[in-house]
């Protein structure tokens, strides 16, 4: 056990082995009684269709969720260098970062109060 990567390799082998054994073992051990419902694709109780209904369009309200995700994503991008260099940056950067987060939370408060996070 000289190389620190050996346990990792062992873990990876275990993971792969588990997946292979489960999938292969099932076909040997399990009973084989099929019917039409069993071989169907499962789509949450909806009749499975080869093509999405209505050309596969999703409602525009998903867009709001996507946009909020991007906003917090960008915020986290700025948090990353701040966290790495925190000890060097000192109080000034902390104040600036808190200001930045507060302003983003103003937007968050607006979205929350106006029902942007509700799903109906």
């Amino acid at each position: 056990m000289t190389n620190p990567y050996v346990p990792l390799l062992f873990l990876a082998a275990c993971g792969v082995g588990f997946a292979v054994v489960s999938v292969l073992g099932l076909s040997f051990v399990g009973p084989r009684r099929y019917n039409r419902a069993k071989v169907d694709a499962y789509e949450c109780g909806i009749e499975p269709t080869p093509q999405a209904l209505g050309g596969g369009k999703v409602p525009v309200k998903y867009y709001l969720t996507a946009m909020l995700f991007i906003i917090f994503d960008i915020e986290s991008v700025f948090l990353y260098p701040f966290a790495v260099a925190f000890s060097k940056l000192g109080l000034f950067a902390l104040v600036e970062m808190v200001l930045f987060i507060l302003t983003v939370f103003v937007a968050y408060a607006y979205v929350w109060r106006r029902g942007g996070l509700e799903w109906d």
């Binding site: 009684r33 019917n35 909806i46 369009k57 991007i70 906003i71 260098p81 790495v84 600036e96 983003v104």
Partner: protein
């Protein structure tokens, strides 16, 4: 010079990203274009990190491959994966003109930038002396702190814009469960609520009515909106299929 490991990385990933970029241009389906783009973007992120620009690499993966690609896919889904662009020219000859002009711009830029003689570079070691990400932090919270703070105005604008353009606000307050219940008792019908839609082996969607004890579909079990739109399903095939499945299971067919 690049180390051996970096060269190997480059010669493996560069063809992959070129293929992805070509796919982006040549593939017809919009979803495949998006996948090609994702390949190019992830490869770019790896290249950045390999060239000691860790921050840029992380941003490339977190923001572009993560968030922006997701937004692309979202937009594709909003307009429908099957919809295709109209290729009719509204202004005659605009394709040719656009091609000529962009080629011209490209040639001019290549010629101009190619003619420049660059001074000796400072070198990555010096630039990344305190660590790439620390150097970025010093710039973001130092020289460019104002730009950084003003960026938050952009984020708020984005949130406002998404709400204004995409969020249909509820204009009347939503009735609470208590109010629903009180209303039912005032009317004196369906005191326990309306019956749930049908649950069959292969379908339990709201558009399929449940069956009453005598085998007839219950109209109360599907939303009125669907009835008005004539989008209610006939439960008979599912009930029939269910009976067939029950029979199959009892017989234990082997296939």
């Amino acid at each position: 010079m690049t180390s051996g490991g970096e060269a190997v990385l480059f010669w493996i990933l560069a063809p992959v990203s070129v293929l992805g970029a070509l796919g982006l241009l040549l593939v017809r389906k919009a979803v495949h274009v998006a996948l090609g783009m994702a390949v190019v973007m992830i490869n770019l992120g790896i290249f950045y990190i390999a060239q000691n620009a860790e921050f840029l690499g992380i941003v490339q993966i977190v923001v572009y491959t993560g968030a922006v690609m997701m937004l692309f896919i979202f937009v594709l889904m909003l307009i429908g994966v099957d919809s295709s662009d109209s290729l009719v020219e509204t202004i005659k000859g605009q394709k040719i003109a656009g091609l000529l002009l962009s080629t011209g711009l490209g040639v001019a830029l290549f010629a101009a930038i190619g003619s420049a003689t660059f001074a000796s570079p400072i070198g990555l070691k010096e630039v990344n002396a305190g660590g790439n990400i620390t150097g970025m932090a010093v710039l973001i919270f130092g020289k460019y702190v104002w730009a950084f703070e003003v960026t938050s105005a952009l984020l708020i604008t984005a949130a406002l814009a998404a709400m204004v353009l995409a969020h249909r606000e509820r204009l009347t307050p939503r009735p609470t469960q208590r109010q629903w219940s009180e209303r039912r008792f005032q009317v004196g019908k369906n005191l326990a609520g309306l019956p749930a839609p049908g649950v069959y082996a292969r379908r339990n969607a709201v558009d399929t009515p449940a069956l009453l004890p005598d085998g007839t579909p219950s109209e109360a079990s599907v939303p009125r909106v669907l009835t008005a739109r004539e989008q209610v399903n006939d439960p008979e095939p599912y009930a029939g299929a269910e009976r067939a499945i029950e029979r199959e299971i009892e017989e234990g067919t082997n296939r």
